[in-house]
Chain length 548, copies 2
Amino acid sequence: MVSEQRTADVSFESLLRIFTVPEGPDSTLTQIEEKLSRNLNKFLREHIVAEEKPLREIEKDFSNAAIPEQPEFVSDHTQHLLDNLVSHSVHTSAPSFIGHMTSALPYFLMPLSKIMIALNQNLVKIETSKAFTPLERQVLGMLHRLIYAQQDGFYDKWMHSANHSLGAFCSGGTIANITALWVARNNALRARNGFKGVEKEGLFQAMKHYGYDGLAILVSERGHYSLKKAADVLGIGQQSLVAVKTNSDNRICPDDLLAQIKSLKAKNIKPFAVVGVAGTTETGSIDPLRDIAKICQQEECHFHVDAAWGGATLMSNNYRHLLNGIELADSVTIDAHKQLYIPMGAGMVLFKDPSSMKSIEHHAQYILRKGSKDLGSHTLEGSRSGMAMLVYAAMHIISRPGYELLIDQSIEKARYFAELIEQQADFELVSHPELCLLTYRYLPEHIKHALEIANADQRAELNGLLNEWTKFIQKRQRENGRSFVSRTRLTPAHWDRLHTIVFRVVLANPLTTCDILQNILQEQRDIAQQAPKLTQKIEALAQQICAK
Amino acid sequence: MVSEQRTADVSFESLLRIFTVPEGPDSTLTQIEEKLSRNLNKFLREHIVAEEKPLREIEKDFSNAAIPEQPEFVSDHTQHLLDNLVSHSVHTSAPSFIGHMTSALPYFLMPLSKIMIALNQNLVKIETSKAFTPLERQVLGMLHRLIYAQQDGFYDKWMHSANHSLGAFCSGGTIANITALWVARNNALRARNGFKGVEKEGLFQAMKHYGYDGLAILVSERGHYSLKKAADVLGIGQQSLVAVKTNSDNRICPDDLLAQIKSLKAKNIKPFAVVGVAGTTETGSIDPLRDIAKICQQEECHFHVDAAWGGATLMSNNYRHLLNGIELADSVTIDAHKQLYIPMGAGMVLFKDPSSMKSIEHHAQYILRKGSKDLGSHTLEGSRSGMAMLVYAAMHIISRPGYELLIDQSIEKARYFAELIEQQADFELVSHPELCLLTYRYLPEHIKHALEIANADQRAELNGLLNEWTKFIQKRQRENGRSFVSRTRLTPAHWDRLHTIVFRVVLANPLTTCDILQNILQEQRDIAQQAPKLTQKIEALAQQICAK
């Protein structure tokens, strides 16, 4: 496109051409696009997870820090991308890729994404987005209503109000969580008696004015790592993110939460926010939201729910009760790029009170002028794409009952897989699925028996070897590339809270079948035999324990 | 797609279908895509800026907060989007849209974006991105080299190092700036003598440990509003963002910078970061970076350069000297979705020292494990799309000399427009273009004369009326929809630093012609006559001034 010959000079005329709409269905670009579509479709149909090429090898293809001095033809470069990038990317949409929260996408989003890319709107302000701004406000309204179920009059009044905001659309759950805690912090340390508010004077002055010795955010020990990042960024400090105990179901213990709040207050530390998790990243567990809400109300804390994963469950009339109490939250994070099946980059935070975000409002002279409806005055990010249109489109094309079916089948598939694991003599289900996540490990019956009767030292030793085994199986399975489960570290009550490495499974792809799940177990069983030294060690220790 | 009839029930089979790759070139989805492409191409060829429909009217189409209970056909919904969204969006790519930094895109990015959307990689970790991770590291390496021009050995050593990072790819310049200042804050208040660092213990403890009475970030009074947001989020407080005086060219005054630093230090306030601007948002002015660097070195401040707009100028061997001294910065923000012509959502921050980001590193059990090459351990965001591939592709297809041509023609077009404005008897050029931005206003010669000879009160009054005029013209021109310039408020030295509303122009679209620029002036001249009462007031006051 750029040059007539690969070695020709760049000319301004050829550059102008690349900014000019390609004419007709036979243009080079149309042909390239067709080839690309065919290739991508072929790639997506191949039900493997990844090609077996080590990262170090791939890095060699991406090792030149010099910006090219010679332009490439679009067609040549497209081929280069197909060979070097596409073929060594991860098939996150493969039905046997059940290791992470990134999954398949509905195909209609591919053509519709073109609208977003081609129009290149910037949602920070109306002057570069026009109709996209009311659209995004409507999407935020839809999610707000899904959570808080206010009357129509509420949305008529606030959804398009210039000086209010039902939430913020952002690039993902991390920014959503940071935004929620930013709002909570600024509201807790607001202006009063001559103090101009933490947003103006900063944390040091705020602490001196309010006379606190510290601040705290409380969350279950299973909370997402983004909260630690939030505590760091916001100047609270990671140590002020207080971990609350969980019960054997990985849910926060309300008694411990209350006790911790009381103890913090006794130390003159202000617990300004509590985060309830609705779908922990590791196990999909949902905190008892109603109990947390009651404590927050009583203790005057901002109640934020991190429902980045689980929020979409509200779409199902059959399972939305699992999130009971979420309507009492002051703010809620939901990721549309997780269980709403939208491409990467679609997070949201919703606020119960349309005035909450006042505390982080900002203005500038050339945009976001006071009284304007520019969305940018209430977002942490500045320039943003029109991603909300994909959420809007999916809501209309799939509809709520469609999402209900998707959510229901995911949860039911996870229950099936849990039962399947429990039926095996050589696997242990570590966490039961509340949503569509579960964890398990390879643990043959006789080894499990040894683990049960072992004394504390032996148990720790054997468990350590089992952790090696789980890691080995997970890595090898990933390298084989036929299927993928992830791994994490839990502390199961059943095993004295020992650090336990487990396989972690997320069953969100509607194309994942029961057969695939059975094959994954069989593959893991087979791989377990491929580490003879480790297996020998485990067997020997188990024998020694049982011999006593 | 979802249902056979518009009123039919949702079935799981129909849902499975939407996740299944459409077969063949005649599939419904392929047909929809072709129709969509035709429609979008037609839209993009229409050289107008926006349809004349008031926002309040558009909002009526986006007023329902209920999530639909009935699925829609993809084809029906696509038509709905074309009618209600696309036709009322802003033609940011129109050659007469010269008001903001969002501009036209090279057409080859439309098909290539498909790769990004279809593969739906998540760059937070290698397990969901594989080859995309080394690709993003290479892109960061390319930008690093463009700024810092280190030897090949440097990039061989650090670009793919698990424990280092040349920067972070993020959704935009705001997150990039926040990241840079987050790193600067954490490095300034690092762990020592039993204190565990601000990231762990928070700002309040950090200030007590270090014994400072305050912190400060210094930036010219023309700095971007995102810096105020950063100061708020990071707990520094907006008041601690100290505005440094600018000269008549809207560039920071090094003397004032040094004086302010000294004065802060005398008050026991730690100025931990200075932000130099390379391309202010309002006027495109570039601070004297070398002078700032020298002061930062001497005063031990982190030196950050916000080159979100101007950074791409480094691509031009003819104009990169304008940014001399940027290579002395500790960190630099560059937005690829501005002058690198990438779709919305592509910002970057680069750090001179590959170890700088250590101070914000974070880990988790299921991803970002220590020693992994997961990009997520050094980003403010969590899940992120594979947007870096579009930067990579554009670098190869356009190449550095191609970007040089684009940058050069933008700057030269701005110079042409500045001359054109100066030739008019009824326009005043307010800020000369250093890059491709300039500001001006409608100011007929005899009114200008009155403004010059007026006393202070009269001048303020007349200037206020002129501001109304500029606002009126800008709004009416936007509403007419044929062309678009933005507006902002400056304080020109020439006019006693009076608040002066000006037209703001960004000339980044290579398709904008000299004819279009001439027409824009003519349209503004015509509109100026459409506010007879205001014109009368201005004329009367001018006459009164001149009569004395």
